[in-house]
């Protein structure tokens, strides 16, 4: 779990950092040269374009959803484990039990496990830390609506019922 007291939403811009040493990966010896070359290219590229901007989120800004079990935030660059996501309910009450982790499959994506969220408007506060330590932070809002999906299901179910009723009457008419 990330630490509110350490990252500070307000301190979330342009952190100057050093490359974080990564644990060695189990790569076949013959492929190590290629891997290192690619890694160096990657690091070089990230050096000149460092800030990870939020390019997609689920739920996204302005979304109205039934209580989500998780959030997914995708950034323009790969991010480190220092990347963090906070969630605030109405009145800026921090939501406990929010756990953000960088997706090990796609290092540009952060998966955020959520506790059950009651209906209301929520503010997502994120801080993305790029591989070279540059940081960017932002926020957006989404709304959890009770029965939002229920209403859609109800409407859909009603349409199906009406279709079945029509089919039944049509069958009766044929007899």
């Amino acid at each position: 779990m990330w630490r509110l007291s350490l990252w500070g939403v307000g301190c979330g811009v342009w952190g100057v950092g050093r490359f974080t040493p990564y644990a060695p990966l189990p790569i076949p010896h013959k492929k190590q040269g290629l891997f290192l070359t690619l890694l160096l290219c990657l690091i070089a590229a990230s050096t000149v374009r460092a800030h990870s901007e939020l390019i997609r989120a689920e739920p996204g800004p302005g979304a109205r959803v039934a209580a989500p079990r998780e959030m997914r935030l995708r950034f323009s660059e790969m991010v480190t484990e220092e990347t963090a996501v906070l969630l605030f309910a109405d009145g800026f009450q921090q939501v406990a039990g929010v756990v953000a982790q960088v997706d090990p499959v796609s290092l540009q994506e952060v998966v955020v496990a959520l506790p059950p969220l009651p209906p209301g408007v929520y503010t997502v506060q994120w801080k993305a830390v790029a591989l070279d330590g540059h940081e960017l932070s932002g926020s957006y809002m989404f709304e959890v609506v009770a029965g939002g999906q229920t209403a859609v299901w109800l409407g859909g179910g009603l349409v199906i019922m009406l279709l079945l009723l029509g089919l039944w009457r049509w069958q009766l008419g044929r007899r």
């Binding site: 342009w14 374009r49 901007e53 800004p61 302005g62 800026f92 960017l136 926020s139 209403a151 109800l154």
Partner: protein, 275 residues
């Protein structure tokens, strides 16, 4: 039919609620806020694009643990930077986290109320307002003849490397010190800041004020921080400081900085003669 009507009514209520919910994303673009009246800057994004159609922004600041607003006011827009951004100076009495409710009005009259959270520190990392600037012995053209080692940028302007901070504060003129790495951070969030410093230098002239660029990195390959960055306690970049004639910090400007905003900060020191 009643069920269908109920479903439609519910959907309408939901849609109405959605209409008031902001699709706008707020990016906080300054950092290291101290207790008092910190400069807070932010930008609005609609999807991946900068929201260009924001006409006005008013704000209220609340303690995150609940309670009444401690400050309310408006933000000022600066559009002569690559990203149009907004600045406000809240009065924040204590260190801690603050919820900021914004009410933005678009040019078509639509209003949204996105919020964000910020933290104030009892002691900032970078030198505070009123503090005497560290008398850094930064690199100049007189100590480093290879311009490519003075800045990571490609088009190095020697006028920004004529004196150290230690020398500048003895000239009796106000000084602008910019910590920027133009070649190693070329994104819209930091690269153009040095151009703003150069633009103001051209507008004001070297006789009225000193202008100094200090490169963030000492080694552009290993990315080791330059000595002044450490000396000033800077953990982020870009930063621009405005010093009065005695070397005291009168403006601490982190993140994107437009020429207009920098000139506004410098102007009182030039016109009043007390700089």
């Amino acid at each position: 039919m009643l069920l269908l009507l109920a479903a439609c009514t519910r959907q309408q209520e939901v849609d109405e609620a959605m209409a008031t919910l902001s699709p706008i994303q707020v990016l906080l673009v300054s950092t290291d806020f101290g207790v008092g009246q910190p400069r807070v800057s932010f930008a609005f994004f609609d999807g991946e694009n900068v929201a260009q159609n924001v006409a006005s922004v008013s704000l209220q600041v609340f303690p995150v643990d609940g309670g009444e607003a401690v400050w309310e006011g408006t933000a000022v827009s600066y559009t002569d930077y690559l990203i149009p951004y907004w600045v406000f100076y809240p009065e924040l009495p204590t260190a801690g986290y603050w919820g900021v409710k914004t009410e933005l009005t678009l040019t078509d009259g639509t209003t949204y109320s996105p919020g964000f959270v910020m933290e104030t520190l009892a002691k900032t990392n970078a030198p505070a307002l009123g503090a005497v600037a560290p008398p850094s012995e930064n690199k100049t053209v007189f100590t480093e003849s290879d311009l490519s080692k003075l800045s990571s940028g490609t088009d190095v302007n020697p006028a920004l490397y004529q004196m150290t901070v230690a020398e500048a504060v003895k000239t009796g003129r106000p000084t602008v010190v910019g910590f920027v790495t133009p070649g190693l951070c070329q994104t819209r969030w930091c690269g153009p800041t040095l151009e703003s410093v150069e633009a103001v230098q051209e507008a004001v002239g070297d006789e009225a004020a000193n202008f100094i660029h200090i490169e963030v990195y000492d080694d552009f390959q290993a990315l080791t921080l330059s000595a002044p960055m450490v000396e000033w306690g800077l953990a982020t970049e870009p930063w621009v400081f405005v010093l009065d004639k005695d070397g005291r910090i009168v403006s601490r400007l982190s993140g994107p900085l437009s020429p207009t905003e920098l000139q506004e900060q410098l102007a009182p020191l030039l016109s009043s003669g007390v700089g």
